[in-house]
Symmetry: C2
Subunit: 357 residues, 2 copies
């Protein structure tokens, strides 16, 4: 499935992009006055290979939840059981992302891809556990290659099922105590930047914990770097397996699944950015399906988005994850497409054009 | 009416703000992880003097439309009749702001406060013309003091009528060919910054037109500055009357009307920023009701928001006006309030707190 998905990820359609540029020029507004939204609408035409691209009126958020063996190294003050507790909170509708999703009209699904606890079945929960948390990457590979591939396929299947169900835009969410550590490790590997540069304070750790976190990442990279020849792009699945999280693998698959169906995917914060680098290493054109929802305060997010050449739509100082930044960005993305469907042209509205100077 | 409105603009309620801060600390998320939205929710509690502040589930945009005598000075390549044509476009639902408003669930009203043409009655149009466009401010005062006061009252009445009709948040919109010129003049007067610093390229003018625009503003300020003793804060209504637009007066009144009822008002771009400076000069605490929707590319907007100490929520390179930036920011503002209503607390959700380090 991964191979077929990779093959289906195609470049942007230039003809549809030209049509979108021409349409933007005829709409009743000064040329360029919608700023970044005009560029975004052109890219979405290219992605979907049609102008105007379909209205993004059915939006689905998938929150991939998993635990992390590296939690044992003291990289966060939050107990591991918070992952499962927050999954219950999402399913009960009591988390920040639920409030934002109700505001913006986004449907929320939680995918248990690797929570350490047994989770009872519940509406809104997809049970697709590959294993009950990763192994400690400072000691051994976080996942086997087969586990990483299985998690990638869970992500692809999740995306395809949502699209088959009518979703026109997908949004990434995540939950996993310790997952900013795995994110920073992945970002360091895929961008060749030092762990000290890409490692942040996550949910709010103190300075000694931050130092420990950076050292833990260095240790993991030193242990596993040789297994992929220290060139992450040469074998991205090996990188993902050794230092990633199950939710990173699920998210990378989710992004590839969206890209393979020419459906846009709005990225949340640093966990999504790490998964996005992984997806882009696996299938470079998947980058064209990605929309950076917001600028997380995590330094690794900036480094990753910069390498992907993605400009975040929002910059609100968020560092929560869950998909909150993606959900808040969704109305803007949908608005950018809606303009191409619903705005009048100068001709149709009888609005005079500007006099040439 | 203006006097009573000014008296009703009161400072933020400290007790409600403290309650909001305490509530934020108990919600199921790391402290501070919602960034600017936490501060915003605290301010909205202070504004409305209740915690949580009311859900912002009924949002009303008012687009104040007016023409400008200074158009005769060649400050824009757009014909003046575009103002009336765009009003018709708004009423037909074909403008960018209509597309965004449908996406985000904002109701749109157009207020004809000073369009040069006669506009036939239409659903969604409030006919409240004070005069058919301002006079040319390079030659004489744009409005008489009585006209400026009448336009301020139209704005106040519009806000009060919307709030009486159930609106819980107001959004500013504007339409008026030439209105970035009046905006830059107002911003220069209220911030004491040189016209060259606060004057932008509006809808997209060329360099010679920009030079002329700056010179036109200098000329108007030289002519009228002495009438308010060159101290804009000493008589803001005189400043507004001499160099402002009818839509600026309407918007300033609209902001004061919202603030007097403790209802938040989301500002759009540079026209709203100029009106906001005017409102803050008339009643300083009205600033606390203002939310900067976005960062317009117009330099005057940055200068004005900086003086008002308002951080814009969005920065998307927009320079369209109409209310587009305010409408796109609305779901974020509403989301910030919704969190206080709908999120679980650590206790209620049974989520473990972080271990103290």
């Amino acid at each position: 499935m991964l191979g077929l998905t990779i093959e289906a990820v195609r470049p942007l359609d230039a003809a549809a992009m030209n049509q979108a540029r021409e349409l933007q020029a005829r709409l009743t507004k000064p040329a360029g006055s919608l700023g970044e939204l005009e560029e975004l609408s052109v890219r979405l035409a290219g992605l979907t290979a049609v102008c105007p691209p379909p209205l993004l009126d059915s939006a689905q958020l998938a929150i991939f939840a998993g635990d992390h063996g590296v939690h044992a190294q003291g990289v966060t003050p939050w107990p591991q059981e918070v992952t499962a507790q927050m999954v219950a909170n999402f399913l009960a509708g009591g988390a920040a992302v639920n409030a934002f999703a109700r505001q913006t009209g986004v449907a929320v699904t939680v995918v248990d891809i690797g929570v350490a606890a047994d989770l009872p079945p519940a509406p809104g929960l997809v049970s697709a556990k590959v294993r009950a948390g990763t192994r400690d990457m400072t000691v051994e590979p976080a996942m086997t290659r087969a586990e990483a591939q299985a998690a990638l396929e869970v992500g692809i299947q999740t995306a395809h099922a949502m699209i088959d169900g009518g979703a026109r835009v997908l949004l990434t969410g995540d939950m996993g105590i310790g997952n900013t550590t795995a994110s920073a490790a992945l970002i360091s590997a895929f961008t060749r930047r030092d762990p000290g540069v890409v490692t942040g304070y996550g949910t709010g750790i103190d300075a000694p914990t931050h130092l420990r976190k950076v050292e833990v990442i260095r240790q993991a990279l030193a242990l596993h770097g040789p297994s992929w020849g220290d060139d992450a792009a040469s074998d991205p699945v090996a990188v993902l397996a050794t230092i990633g999280g199950l939710e990173h693998a699920g998210l990378a698959g989710f992004i590839l699944g969206a890209a393979s169906r020419r459906v846009p995917v709005i990225l949340d914060g640093v966990i999504a950015a790490a998964a996005a680098l992984t997806a882009a290493a696996i299938a470079p054109s998947s980058r064209d399906a990605m929309i950076a929802g917001h600028q997380s305060v995590e330094p690794g997010a900036s480094v990753a988005l910069s390498q992907l050449e993605l400009n975040p739509l929002l910059d609100l100082g968020l560092r929560l994850g869950e998909g909150t930044g993606a959900v808040l960005a969704y109305p803007i993305v949908a608005g950018a497409v809606r303009v191409l469907h619903e705005m009048a042209t100068f001709d149709s509205a009888g609005v005079a054009a500007k006099v040439e100077e």
